[in-house]
């Protein structure tokens, strides 16, 4: 079952209705059944694996709480976490050894593995009490809107929401957030994807245009695709009464790569910071700047390799860690320099986003290109000159790309809409007059009926989400 499908909307609507008309104590059971139903539409056997991992971690956490011996608890935690990591690694590495094998990767494996690891470790660190209600815990692990691409929500923010007496709001905010995601994906990401595909397919055309288009537009496509996917996940969660953490915070407005990574895929970077970087930093704290650089590199490499095991991702991770290390090690000197030079400070605030976008765009070539050779080819095409640029330009706008230009105004409009959402939210004021409420409900209903029609009218369905592959 895909996110952008009628089946998904029907399931979501049915579950939202069920949890609103049933007693609160049934909520987690309904979410659990719906989540496993969603999972089984992909693969029933993998649902069994998910259930087994859930049972293992649930029992582990209960056992950890009762353990008196710290060493045994530590060993026990290590064993369970290692098992989860090995399973995750097995599925990530397997394509390297068998490129022709057609095997199934469990849906959302990384996301639920991260959730399970953080739960076990948090209980071990005594940050959080083990859940005694298996249904609640299983519903948290398998929560279907977050299964495809997160966000990676911690148990401490999810489980209390299940226990609230009534589902709070979400009737306007949820559908609006989903619509925003749908627009990002179908109007911007899919259309920019056409241009990027054209760019990578025409690298030998003789001008720099294809390489330029591929390099510049891919980060925007990726952001719109991924943040659209997350908007749909968060919106779905809101409809079901679950408020999920944000995953993006205008990443291209960042003024440094360090800030960029605080704004991009925030739940993954936050998770890695808590469970990888901080422990590593503690281990290497005596090594000074070298230890910091090592921790940053390891953390960045993990982020990169999470997407897949390939040389391209290794270079992508190293490339970003280079900037992260440089920025971190020069932070205090830059701070004092900018404090003394106000003009330079203002200049860096303006130029910062351009610098960030350029670095991200160059780095994303290693992310997108199928091999290092292809990445090198992309960069070398930048030196092709402008001899046939006119011909290439018309080829860029020829069918099937002839309507894709709409992505450019849409990027602007959706970025404004997203900024408004962050600032004001889509929530209706609690005491809004009746005509405002009726107008909002009827407008949202009309919008979603039309989106449902659009999904039904599309024979091939929407293009798959880029991040759904990871």
């Amino acid at each position: 079952m895909r996110f952008l499908s009628i089946e998904y909307l029907c399931l979501l609507g049915l579950v939202a209705l069920s949890i609103r008309i049933s007693p609160p104590r049934w909520r987690s059971a309904i979410l659990l059944i719906a989540s496993y139903l969603f999972y089984c539409t992909w693969n029933s056997w993998m649902a069994v694996a998910l259930f087994a991992a859930t049972v293992l971690c649930f029992l582990t956490a209960l056992r950890l709480e009762r353990m008196r011996d710290k060493n045994t608890a530590s060993l026990f935690t290590c064993f369970v976490v290692s098992t989860l990591v090995v399973v995750l690694m097995f599925f990530k590495i397997r394509p390297l050894f068998c490129t022709t094998c057609n095997f199934i990767i469990p849906l959302g494996l990384s996301y639920y593995t991260f959730r399970l690891i953080s739960y076990v470790v948090d209980v071990y660190w005594a940050k959080y009490r083990a859940s005694e209600n298996f249904t609640d815990f299983a519903a948290y692990v398998a929560f279907f809107p977050q299964m495809i691409a997160g966000p990676i929500q911690r148990e401490s923010s999810f489980l209390p929401q299940l226990r609230e007496s009534a589902v709070q709001g979400g009737t306007i905010e949820g559908p609006m957030r989903m619509a925003l995601g749908f627009a990002k994906k179908s109007i911007v990401a899919d259309n920019l994807g056409l241009f990027v595909g054209w760019g990578y397919g025409h690298l030998h055309s003789g001008s720099l245009l294809p390489a330029l288009v591929a390099i510049v537009l891919y980060p925007v496509q990726l952001y719109m695709d991924f943040s659209g996917l997350v908007d749909i996940a968060i919106g779905s969660g809101l409809i079901l009464g679950i408020d999920a953490p944000e995953n993006f915070n205008a990443p291209f407005s960042a003024k440094s790569i360090t800030e960029f990574w605080r704004r991009w895929h925030m739940t993954l970077t936050g998770w890695l910071r808590d469970y990888v970087f901080m422990p590593l930093r503690m281990l290497t704290r005596d090594w000074g700047e070298t230890g910091l650089a090592l921790s940053l590199t390891a953390n960045m490499l993990l982020i990169a390799l999470w997407h897949g095991i390939s040389l391209g991702f290794v270079v992508y991770g190293l490339f970003h860690s280079l900037f992260l290390i440089t920025e971190t090690l020069t932070a205090s000197r830059r701070k004092s320099f900018y404090a003394a030079n106000l003009l330079a400070d203002k200049g860096s605030a303006i130029l910062g986003p351009f610098y960030v976008f350029s670095v991200v765009a160059v780095g994303s070539v290693f992310f997108r290109a199928p091999s290092l050779t292809a990445a090198a080819q992309t960069f070398s095409s930048l030196g092709s000159g402008i001899r046939s640029i006119g011909k290439d330009f018309w080829s860029l706008l020829a069918p099937p790309n002839h309507h894709a230009w709409v992505a450019f105004p849409a990027v602007v409009l959706l970025t404004i809409a997203d900024a408004c959402r962050r600032r004001f939210g889509f929530r209706l004021p609690a005491l809004a007059p009746r005509y405002v409420r009726w107008s909002a409900y009827s407008g949202v209903a009309a919008m979603w009926i039309l989106i449902a029609f659009m999904l039904m009218a599309t024979e091939k369905g929407a293009d798959p989400f880029v991040y759904a592959l990871f």
Binding site: I6, E7, I187, A398, P399, P400, H402, H403, V406, P409, A410, R434, Y435, V436, W438, S439, A440, Y441, S442, G443, A446, M447, L450, A452, F453, M454, L455, M456, A457, T458, E459
Partner: protein, 408 residues
Amino acid sequence: MRFFRDLIAAFATVIVVLVLFEVGLRLAGVRYESSFYESDPVLYMALRPRAEGWEIKEGENFVRINSWGMRDEERSLVPAPGTLRVALLGDSMVAAEEVPLDKTMAKVLESKLSGHLGSPSAPVEVLNFGVGGFTLAQEYLMLENRVWQFRPDIVVLFLSPSSVPSCSKRLYPGNFPFFVVSNGDLVPDPATHPPAGSSPEARHEHALLGNLMNQIRLFQLVRKATQDGIPREIAQLSGSRRRTRNTNILNMWLHPPASPEQANAWQVADRILGLMAEGARDHGAEFWLSAIGPEVQDNPNATAREAFLQKERIKTFDYAENRLQSIANVHGIGFIALEHPLLEYAEHNHVSLRGFFNTRPNYGHWNENGNNAAATIVADKLIEYHSHSEPSVRAAHKLEHVRTNDGS
């Protein structure tokens, strides 16, 4: 009072959402198929006069139907003196809604024939009577009821793989006119009736609604979702597969009849072609027949063709074309062999004759190359045949024929 005010506010919001969607769809270039058809008491289905809209399934093309219900420019009923009129009959391959009007086989043929058979005083007009989804019986009815009033000198009928199976209700189920052989005569099947909505009032209403739908994207969206999307979703949920007529169509094109029903379809097709030839003789027009094969037949990819032949356990694609040529010979109909020259054209020019930017290559209807190639082949044949006769002689011959028929 407040209740109505609130209700109006909600209604106005819905209207705003609808308008925004319509504008958004237009700006984004999102298009859905337009409706070009209407019910017809004789043909059962015909192109709706003056309908216009987009064809987007294969390629993306704006289609305009003329006031006579033809995928053609406006034509006068009576040709100017000395005009050589050619009428093309066939299904969607002839209608060519996938390509711009000036790239259709009919228009390219008109321009090619004009250079050789026409002159400023004796122009050539090629009238396109092709209608998507037409069966052989419908083409016959079209010839009898609509084509002759345009006084064509030459009629070219293009048959496609579905033409012969469409002569049998069992092989080609659907609401089409059918003919049966009864006591040695070919008569309309008494069990078939024109579709509901073919009365003039219903057609008028349908035309108004259809034209409105073709103008408004939201209507097209709703129609597409309800006509295609909902049945598809239900089929997916129930795991059922759509039944197609493809098996019969391909089998009958490639193999001799394998059942009495298939043999009967060939017999009916033979009789219909005989009637058409007879009608052409009565109207003093030449009648030509041509056959358009399945897409694999003109696929320039030799491996794909070979694999298909092996799968079908046949040596050539020629069964239907040969049989149709024999039928044409029996009825004194000229035959234009199309498929071998088409393949030669594709191979020689290294082009795909079918396929568009939004479809697989070598799949579906003819693209501009295909239309151009077909027009070239047909034009060559007609020019070769007519190169000995002068336009003035043809005009005089036709005038004499019309006078004889009118009794004047």
